[in-house]
């Protein structure tokens, strides 16, 4: 956690930006929660720790965290941008339940490899990718069977 803060400070210094208590608070909360959060959701949580903070600051800091490589954008099918903790976490994709909203994180090395091959075949130089599978999770599958 201190390590992440140090990295963030270095990142800020490199770009002639300043470390503020707000930025530190937001980073800490974001690292600790470790969920797929919208700006507003993160704002609500940060507010509890520091009620004087504005949502514009949360918004701007989240953007910085993305540029610093701490946060990645996720699209879970609802109509807003979500962010997840990225630094030190391995890449993964998502299985999203359209019933309960649950989100399962998965990796399939074989798929990742085939993606590379696919890109090479197209002369395309990949930088990042997203794969989301929408459907019913184990629990909801059982639930809907009962309901019938």
């Amino acid at each position: 956690m201190d390590k992440e803060l140090d990295i963030f400070i270095d990142f800020l210094r490199e770009r002639n930006l300043k470390l503020t208590s707000q930025r530190e608070d937001i980073l800490k909360v974001f690292l600790k929660i470790d969920k797929h959060l919208s700006v507003e959701e993160l704002y609500d949580i940060v507010k509890k720790k520091n009620p004087r903070i504005g949502q514009a600051t949360v918004f701007r800091t989240l953007k910085l965290l993305r540029e610093a490589g701490f946060a990645g954008e996720v699209n879970l099918g609802d109509r807003c941008i979500r962010y997840e903790y990225k630094y030190g976490h391995k890449h993964h994709d998502h299985l999203i339940c359209i019933e309960c909203g649950r989100c399962i994180e998965v990796v399939d090395p074989k798929i990742e490899e085939l993606q590379q091959i696919l890109c090479k075949r197209e002369g395309f130089s990949p930088q990042k990718h997203k794969m989301e599978i929408f459907g019913l999770c184990k629990a909801c599958r059982k639930g809907s069977r009962k309901a019938k």
Copy 2:
């Protein structure tokens, strides 16, 4: 094209909805263009054919087309929902150039198969999926080499 119209009419009848000239125009333009369009882009094109049409109608009809299985949502990394023609087209995924915006449509049967296996392993019942790879297309890769 007539076939699609017939299917749409059946769809409407089933839900006690009416076929209007607006709906017919929008469907025809949408089928003909066959690109990844935002509501606004489709509206601009439809307006040329029928200038008295409102964007609310385009918006609502696009929603109907989605429900009827003619249109699918696509997210190309810009900040709006795009729709693509779906009916009778095979499923595919997208390679998106972050430089020029070009969008290459691809399918890898092996990846599709591995996705099914992955879901089975997680007890997840997949309904649809999206895979987008962001990077540089062949042309932009060459372009940026020159620029350096």
